[in-house]
């Protein structure tokens, strides 16, 4: 089943869910790709499909994986929370809302916009201080950074690495949260047809 998904069960997500009762509310995901969030529960690893997504939890790496544009350490949004990617909205902690009230207000505005209702106000992201540019890290150092507890410092470090590469290597930020190796392995198909080599007939620029 695909449809509308709200990610983040804090004040913004809860306020949005009250306006969008048909939405599936999930607390967090460990990875995102266009049209799918990946979650890990006690039952294992599962894909949650979506047509439209409202991301409220402070998980910027998920939006990075979805190709959303960032500025000043935050996803770029319009006054209703629309990101640069069609169908993907953000509100609340992810935009730096500093109180539960402000997060809930933002959640309501984004939800109203998604529901086709006139939004009661506007929202905006709170810019973050530009993180120090540490130079490019290699995959092992990125792994060590990703292994640190989720939070603003980890996100800022990874966003800075992604910025050094431009949009070309979103996998530098993957996965947004770590996932159980055995749980991941358990969802593997019994057999796998190898993916064909990709062909190229391109020319210089």
């Amino acid at each position: 089943m695909s449809g509308l998904v709200i990610l983040g069960a804090g004040p913004a997500g809860s306020a949005a869910a009250a306006i969008l009762p048909e939405a599936r509310l999930i607390a967090t995901a460990w990875h995102a790709e266009p049209g799918r969030l990946w979650i890990e529960t006690a039952a294992g690893v599962e894909a949650v499909p979506f047509d439209r997504l409202l991301l409220c939890a402070d998980e910027p790496l998920l939006l990075l994986a979805l190709g959303c544009a960032f500025a000043d350490g935050r996803p770029q949004v319009d006054p209703t929370g629309r990101t640069s990617q069609p169908g993907i909205h953000a509100a609340g902690a992810i935009l730096g809302a500093s109180t539960a009230e402000e997060a809930a207000r933002q959640g309501r505005i984004a939800a109203q916009s998604l529901a086709g209702l006139p939004p009661e106000g506007v929202l905006a992201a709170t810019p973050l201080a530009e993180p120090e540019a540490p130079g490019r890290l290699d995959p092992l150092s990125i792994a060590q950074l990703l292994e640190t507890p989720p939070g603003p410092a980890r996100s800022a470090g990874i966003l800075a690495q992604a910025a050094l590469r431009g949009p070309r290597l979103s996998s530098v930020a993957a996965p947004a949260r770590n996932v159980g190796f055995a749980a991941l392995a358990a969802m593997a198909p019994a057999t796998l047809t190898p993916r064909e080599t990709q062909a190229d007939t391109g020319t210089l620029a």
């Binding site: 990946w38 092992l140 990703l146 292994e147 159980g180 991941l184 198909p189 993916r195 210089l204 620029a205």
Partner: protein, 383 residues
């Protein structure tokens, strides 16, 4: 700029070529469309492996391995190279027989770096391996290094020898007139040289195509995994005989897993997309062979774009279409190990018009001719 040699592509092979050319006293300019080591050369698994190579690559890989063992003399940095050995694990009796036959064939051809081992010796070397393993094939002098650090070390050494490196300069047009190449770049710069080197990796065929040379290069976005840090349990780099997997543990305890499983790449943007189901398949294979991973977490997954050719060996040689052009690209997921030696070969081709190394099997015009008979490589997934 007007120089003796222009190198297109600032990955490991471009840097190694520039280093060797500059050390021979010639002016050399590297043009890189993005940044140095923007692609395969920093997302590589860094395996320094002669084990299981295609016979055509063996002489080059053996020579390169010797250079890896004194890499600091070449580039002033040890590149974090460690001799750990590489082991290919057999999971059935038939696979072990295949490995024993390979070792015998290699010995008959005069190579002694691959040695078949029985189950007891395998378990001594890999105490954590699953009980079903039946034996293996080992190359004891193999190891691994850190690819990004390595490529930057080659860059520094090349610059110290006089090479110029220009980042953000994608070559978008080239002409040859009066014995000179004239190159136009995306940053508006123009450059001339009598000799051009094509180390453009997965983009190498685009450059060849622009001078009328069609080479059937495809590309893959090979995916890799790092697990959370675990206590040390494996020293060598491990591969399998019957299914694609590569496996190594860094000094930090993180386990790197590759297996040739592919995401999706885009050569126009350089973007890659992961494929979670295929990552899961890599995880399953690794868990089958190393059950100790059952409590690990996957902390990082990434993909790197690499050029591949139908016979899974690179294109290395002088262009058959135009004078003044050397190709060295399409390393098919195993070009990191060849980095040190390849720069010297490219320098010989560019400056002397020939090399003393056996590169005939890598000729740019080999495609379309009947494939050479004889044994190929063992399964050698990227990583």
């Amino acid at each position: 700029m007007n120089v003796d040699v222009i190198v297109v592509g600032g990955g490991l092979h471009g840097m190694s070529a520039a280093l060797h050319i500059a050390r021979r006293g010639h002016s050399v300019l590297v043009l890189e469309k993005d940044r140095v080591a923007a692609h395969a050369s920093s997302y590589s698994a860094g395996g320094v492996r002669t084990l299981g190579r295609h016979p055509a690559e063996v002489p080059l890989a053996v020579e390169s391995l010797a250079m890896w063992h004194r890499i600091a003399e070449l580039v002033g940095d040890d590149c974090d190279f460690h001799e750990t050995g590489h082991v290919k694990v057999a999971e059935t009796a038939a696979e072990l027989a295949e490995l024993e036959a390979r070792a015998a064939a290699m010995r008959a051809a005069g190579w002694d770096h691959e040695e078949a081992i029985d189950a007891a010796e395998l378990r001594r070397i890999l105490p954590a391996v699953a009980p079903h393993a039946t034996g293996g094939l080992i190359a004891r002098r193999n190891g691994f290094a850190r690819p990004y650090r390595t490529t930057l070390a080659f860059q520094r050494a090349a610059e110290a020898a006089g090479a110029t490196i220009r980042e953000g300069a994608g070559v978008e047009g080239l002409d040859r007139r009066d014995g000179q190449w004239q190159l136009r770049c995306t940053d508006g710069s123009t450059h001339t040289a009598p000799m051009l080197v094509n180390t453009a990796g997965a983009w190498g065929a685009r450059l060849a195509r622009s001078v009328g040379e069609e080479i059937p290069l495809g590309f893959n976005a090979f995916m890799m995994i790092y697990t959370s840090a675990l206590p040390p349990f494996v020293t060598p780099v491990v591969g399998l005989t019957g299914r694609p997997m590569s496996f190594k543990q860094a000094e930090t305890g993180h386990v790197m897993i590759g297996g040739g499983h592919k995401g999706i790449g885009d050569l126009d943007t350089g973007a890659v997309a992961l494929d979670v189901e295929r990552l899961a398949f890599s995880a399953k294979t690794a868990l089958d062979v190393f059950p100790i991973l059952k409590d690990a977490r996957m902390v990082h997954a990434w993909a790197g774009i690499e050029g591949v050719l139908p016979d899974e060996i690179p294109v290395v040689g002088l262009s058959r279409t135009v004078p003044g052009l050397v190709h060295a690209f399409g390393f098919c997921g195993h070009g990191f190990e060849l980095g040190p030696v390849m720069g010297g070969i490219v320098a010989q081709l560019a400056l002397d018009g020939a090399t003393n190394m056996p590169i005939a099997p890598f000729a740019p015009d080999r495609f379309g001719a009947p494939a050479a008979a004889g044994p190929g490589a063992l399964l050698q997934p990227a990583g």
